[in-house]
Chain length 333, copies 2
């Protein structure tokens, strides 16, 4: 069942059928109606490989979402789509699993789809450095900075993760906490988690205390049970902590459980701050004080920057504000 079958069945030529498929003008109402009817009856769907092989350009903007289940990304997609739609641009979204290299996926995609522009929700700067030069369309990386990468078609919009983490620690400090532990991420990794870690370190240093990585820090992945184990190890090792800063809410959620299992109440015995403002921190008992990135703002700025880029503007690297959300997991001492 191809376009020729439809042409034959409708009594028109393939050119005309193609025009109705693409909603183009210069087709009589009669022809359009007839052809639509035949297509519906046959359940015909155009072969998209053949289409894209020809229309090698100008397919919609595509958003790549790194990993699944990231609430922040889910919250960005909607407003992003809306902002783009306001400028009459469609946006397709592709979810990538954690193992896939976003830039390779984008290269493949570009190869076959030739999108007008691409946006990456999340992504490892490292991969961009390696192979982004192969991609040609204007792009924007969201939630991570591409400022150091120096590609002229790669913009970025992000919060200042370092400052946000520093703010979290500062909040704890203001509440009287002096013995603050940190869990999550990895010192070596050159990415978001290490920026947050640096922020925590800096905030402490500015207050005259050097973060003791041996004693007061425990690295871990962004998973509940990793957070659970990290909190457990940390508390067993150093018992004089009055507060813990978890680099992510998932980690904080696991930590909350670990604390409960050790008979510690939050915030009675120990205070806890998370990062990301996921549903965990909104619904847990106690609700967790955390750092929120504004999905709306991120979305809106990304859309505008991408649009500008498609219009020929050079890459920009924008930093948007974050917010400390005070809830129930920190007490003053």
């Amino acid at each position: 069942m191809d376009i020729r079958d439809i042409a034959a069945a409708s009594g028109y030529g393939v050119g005309t059928v193609s025009r109705v498929i693409n909603n183009q003008p210069n087709v009589s109402d009669r022809a359009r109606k007839r052809i639509l009817a035949v297509m519906a009856e046959c359940g015909y769907e155009p072969n998209s490989n053949a289409r894209y092989l020809k229309m090698r350009s100008q397919t919609p903007i595509t958003a790549f979402v790194m990993g699944v289940g990231n609430r922040l990304f889910d919250d960005i997609i909607g407003p992003l789509q809306a902002a783009l739609a306001a400028a009459d641009e469609e946006m397709a979204v592709t979810y990538l699993d954690d193992d896939s290299r976003e830039v390779h996926a984008a290269i493949d995609y570009q190869q076959t789809r030739r999108p007008k522009g691409m946006v990456f929700l999340g992504g490892e700067p490292r991969y961009f450095r390696e192979s982004f030069h192969e991609i040609e369309a204007p792009c924007v990386l969201v939630t991570n900075s591409a400022a150091d990468l120096g590609f002229d078609n790669l913009s970025s919009v992000t919060i200042d993760n370092e400052a946000a983490a520093a703010r979290a620690v500062e909040h704890l400090w203001e509440r009287g906490h002096r013995r603050i532990g940190v869990i999550g991420g990895d010192r070596a990794e050159n990415s978001i988690s290490s920026q947050r870690l640096r922020g925590a370190e800096r905030a402490l240093r500015e207050r005259g205390v050097e973060l003791d990585f041996e004693r007061d820090y425990e690295p871990c992945a962004f998973l509940e049970d990793a957070g659970y184990n990290a909190a457990r190890r940390l508390l067993e090792r150093t018992s004089d902590l009055t507060a813990v800063f978890a680099l992510g809410d998932v980690i904080a959620f696991g930590a909350l459980r670990a604390l409960a299992d050790q008979g510690l109440s939050v915030p009675g015995d120990i205070s806890l701050v998370g990062f990301d403002d996921t549903s965990f921190s909104q619904f847990s008992v106690p609700r967790i004080t955390t750092i929120r990135q504004s999905a709306e703002l991120l979305a809106e700025r990304s859309a505008q920057i991408l649009l500008d880029g498609m219009g020929g503007s050079p890459a920009v690297h924008e930093v948007v504000p974050f917010q400390l959300i005070e809830r129930e997991s920190v007490r003053s001492i």
Copy 2:
């Protein structure tokens, strides 16, 4: 930069270049080496639309994952991939958002990719009924039954959701609970949530009590805040409940919060059972008693059934066991 450029640059013909791209025999080592070198140097990547336009068959098995952030599905993917790999079959995965109709996506995909087989993690029987007849490859629907649909290339593997829900209610009953409320899902919907609801209804009926939908039931979406509100409404309306069965763990998580906000302790004042065994129920305080579906089993059986289907076997509809996981949210009264 296309295959002809590579042919020209290497001094060979396009046919030979195509053979090396596809790792086919009948190419001299010399030619292969030379062509590979040229391709690498040019950073050439074949246009996949053109490839698939020709090779209209035999692309890898594809798994469609409905919605994002479903932990169970995430847990199935790995073992599924592994089981298929053991039979030398690759598997690609495509995440679909909640609004997209899985079957339409599959039809499109089939159109361009012609996969050997497809597996659906989740999916609405309704959509399958409407348009699955257009798809030709052997398929398997996982976590929902396709037994009633009668397509001979559509198998399914699922737990008995009705029995599992009945088991959850029975567990509460055995612990002495007689006034049991239910939250989640929708009576009208012909899908997983309604099966669970029917199970709860049946378990109660078998014990001589008719589930009072007006008083003891509150419908809601599978979201934390929906669970929160549903629990709140239910408890405000009917104050003599000693236990609540939430049709999903996300719902249970929201409910747990609502209960805490009303000053009710779980399980002290009220018992709670969830469904799905997500990280919520494993790490919340208290940990939630719930129903677990075995991701491994689901994956393994799905793989085998798909493989059989590709070998020509007729569709089968398999029901795998579930398990009640007792944790900390139910007390005996």
